[in-house]
C-alpha cells in the first residue's frame, strides 16, 4: 500500500501490465524520454525500450489506426492521446474502425486496445485540450467508455481496461491528476466496469457525476449537509457499460437527482442519465431531475472557465430547490 496521486496510480497500472505481459506496449506523443506531458509514462522507456514505449509521429489518426493493426498482430497496445480533444483528429478511426472490427469480422478480429486521454477543464489549458466530449464516444456503440475519478479506481480500471478483450477509451481527469493522494495497493487489481461507486450516502437527493465532476458533487454534498440536506453521491465510473441499477436504487431512496458534467448541456451524457432514470424510475421521482453542466458554447477563454464549468454552488442551488419544493 502506498499513497499515490492519479498520475502515479496510472503509471503503476502501466508498469504492472507491462511487466506481467510483454505483449503490452505504450505508444503516443512524447511518451518516451519526456514520460508524457503529464509524466504518466515517466521512466518507462529506460525500462522497456523504444520498441515498447514508442514516441509516434504527430498524427492521432495513425496512433489509433496503427493500434488496431498492432492488436491484430498479437500485441496489446495502450495508446495515449495527449488530450481528449485531439481524439477528434482520430475520430474516424475510433467509432468506425476501433469500435467495429470485432463486429465487422464476425469475431475474427477482436481488438484488445486501450486508448488513454486526459480530459477536463479548470487548469487553464489552451483551446480544445479540455473539451469534455465523452458523449460523442458513447454514440459509437462498440467502445467502452470509462472515466475514473480517483487514484484507486484509476489503477484498477486501467488494468481492467488493458485486460479487456475489447476496445476501451480510458478518460483521465486532468484536473485531479496530482490533486490529493489515496491508498493504492502495490499489486495488480481490477475494478470491474459497469459498477458505479456510492461515494457518500444520503436520503434527500442523489448527485450523479463522473470523472472530475465527482469532486464537484462531493463539495456540493458537503455544503448541502450543512443545510441539513443529505445527499447520495454516485460516481458512475463507466458510461459504457452503464450501471443503471445503482442509479435506480439511489433514486428510489431519494426521489430526487442532480446530474453533473463538464460537457455542455445539449446532448451531453447527462441527458442519457436523465432519460434512463425517467424510464426506469419514473414513479419514484418527486421532482424533475436537474442537470448542472457547462453551457452550450464553445469552451471559453481560460480566464472565464470557472464561470462556465459546473460548480458546487450551482449543484447546491439545484438540489436545494428540489428538496424545498
Amino acid at each position: 500500500m502506498a499513497e499515490l496521486t492519479i498520475i502515479e496510480a496510472i503509471r503503476a497500472a502501466l508498469l504492472n501490465e507491462m511487466e506481467a505481459d510483454e505483449r503490452v506496449m505504450v505508444l503516443g506523443l512524447d511518451v518516451g524520454r519526456l514520460g508524457g506531458v503529464f509524466r504518466t509514462t515517466d521512466g518507462m522507456i529506460e525500462r522497456f525500450g523504444r520498441a515498447r514505449v514508442f514516441d509516434t509521429p504527430l498524427a492521432e489518426a495513425s496512433i489509433v489506426g496503427s493500434s488496431i493493426g498492432l492488436a491484430i498482430s498479437g500485441l496489446i497496445p495502450v495508446a495515449e492521446i495527449q488530450f481528449l480533444g485531439f481524439t477528434h483528429q482520430a475520430f474516424h478511426q475510433m467509432g468506425q474502425q476501433l469500435g467495429r472490427f470485432r463486429y465487422r469480422s464476425r469475431g475474427r478480429y477482436p481488438l484488445q486496445v486501450t486508448i488513454r486521454a486526459p480530459m477536463g477543464g479548470g487548469t487553464k489549458t489552451p483551446e480544445f485540450h479540455p473539451d469534455a466530449i465523452e458523449a460523442q464516444f458513447v454514440q459509437s456503440p462498440a467502445i467502452k467508455v470509462v472515466m475514473p475519478s480517483n487514484p484507486y479506481d484509476a489503477k484498477g480500471m486501467l488494468i481492467e481496461a488493458i485486460r479487456d478483450p475489447d476496445p476501451v477509451l480510458f478518460i483521465e481527469p486532468e484536473r485531479l491528476y496530482r490533486k490529493g493522494r489515496a491508498e493504492v495497493p502495490d499489486e495488480a487489481y481490477t475494478v470491474p466496469f459497469g459498477k458505479a461507486r456510492l461515494v457518500r450516502e444520503g436520503e434527500h437527493v442523489t448527485l450523479i457525476g463522473w470523472s472530475a465532476a465527482v469532486e464537484v458533487c462531493e463539495q456540493a454534498a458537503a455544503k448541502l449537509a450543512e443545510e441539513g440536506i443529505s445527499a447520495d453521491v454516485l460516481d458512475l465510473r463507466s458510461l459504457v457499460p452503464l450501471d443503471v441499477e445503482a442509479m435506480v436504487a439511489s433514486i428510489t431512496r431519494t426521489g430526487r437527482c442532480v446530474v453533473v458534467h463538464e460537457a455542455p448541456l445539449s446532448a451531453g451524457f447527462g441527458a442519457e442519465v436523465v432519460a434512463t432514470l425517467q424510464e426506469e424510475a419514473f414513479y419514484s421521482l418527486d421532482a424533475p431531475i436537474a442537470r448542472v453542466t457547462s453551457y452550450d458554447t464553445p469552451y471559453p477563454p481560460a480566464s472565464l472557465e470557472t464561470a462556465w464549468l459546473p460548480t458546487a454552488a450551482r449543484v447546491v442551488k439545484a438540489a436545494r430547490k428540489m428538496v424545498n419544493a
Binding site: A59, L70, I72, L75, Q97, P141
Partner: protein, 352 residues
Amino acid sequence: MEPVTDNGVYQVLEPSGKLRKGAKPSLDDEFVLEGLRWMLLSRAFDSKATALQRQGRFGVFSPVIGQEAAVVGSAMAFEPKTDWLVPQYRELPAYLMWGLPLSKHILNLSGNPIAGRIPDDVKLLPTQVALAAQLPHAVGLAWGLKIQGKEGVVIAYFGEGSSSEGDFHEACNLAGVTGAPIVFFLQNNQWAISTPRAYQTAARYFADRAAGYGFPGRVVDGNDLLAVYEVTKEAVERARKGDGPSLIEAITYRMSFHNTTDNPSRYQDPKDLEEARLRDPIERVEAYLRERGLWSPEREKEFKAAAAQEIEDALAEAQKAPPPQPSQIFDHVFAELTPRQAAQRREMLGRD
C-alpha cells in the same frame, strides 16, 4: 538497362504482348499461366455477378475489370501462408489467392457477411469501405510483426482516390519511421467514382510521394502482369530483408462502372474507354503466351469452362449458407454484451 517507357513506367510486355526491349521476364511460363487463370476467373466472376445483381440476386459490388493484372501480378509476389493482405474492395482475385473461398466472397456481396466470415487460417482483413482507413491498420500490423520478430510482409491495396485522404499520409509516414515490412500498392485506375485522376492530384505520379516518407516509390504499367509481378516482388524482398516499406503505383484503367449503382456515361468519354480496351491486361498475357505456343483456342475454352464451373460451385455452396438471423445483430459487439445491450436483445426478440 531497365525496361521502362519514355515516361519512366516499368513495363515488361508491350500492349501487343511483345516483350519490351531489355526485358528479361522473371515469371516462369507456368506461373504466367497460373496468373492468367486467376485473371480469367476474376473477369468471369465480374460478368456473372453483374448479371445476378441486375436480377436483384446480388448486392452492390465493384468489378475488377481492367485491373486484373495489377491485382493478380502483385498478389503473386507474396506468400499467403505468412504474409497479410489488407484490402480496399476491388481486389477479388487476390482474396481468392490468399485462400478465401469464393463462396464466402459471394455471401459477403449478397448481404450475408455472417456466413461470409473470413476463415481463421486466411491472413486477410475485411474489405474496407472507409477509404484509406485500412492503411494505418496495415502499418500497425506490419510494425507489430516486426516488433515480435514474426515473419510476414503486409500488402495494403488502395485506389488513387483514397491516396488523397489524410490516413494515407499518416500511414506512410509511420511506416517509414518504423521501417515496417509493408508494400503500399496503389491502383491508379484513373477514376474515383466520377472524379478523374487529374482532379485528384497535381503530382506527376502518386509514387513521387514515397520520397517524402523516406522509402522507394515505383511506377509500373498496371496492365502488365509480368511487370507488376517483378516490381512487387522487389518490394516484397526488400521488406522481408528488413529494409522497410515501398510504394507502388500501378497505372491501370477501370474498364467498367465504379460499382453496380454507377453510370459512367454521365462523366466518361467513350473514347477513353475504347483506348483502354486496347490495353486490356488479359489480352496482353494471352498474346504473350500465344507467341510462346502456350495459348490456344482450346486452352482458352478449357480455362474459361473451369472458371465458369468454379463460379457455379461457389454460388451453389453459398446457397447452402443459413440466412442471417435478427438475433445475430447482437453477436460480436463485445466479447460480452453490456446489460443494456442484453436487454435490448431480449426486447428485439420479443422476450421482454
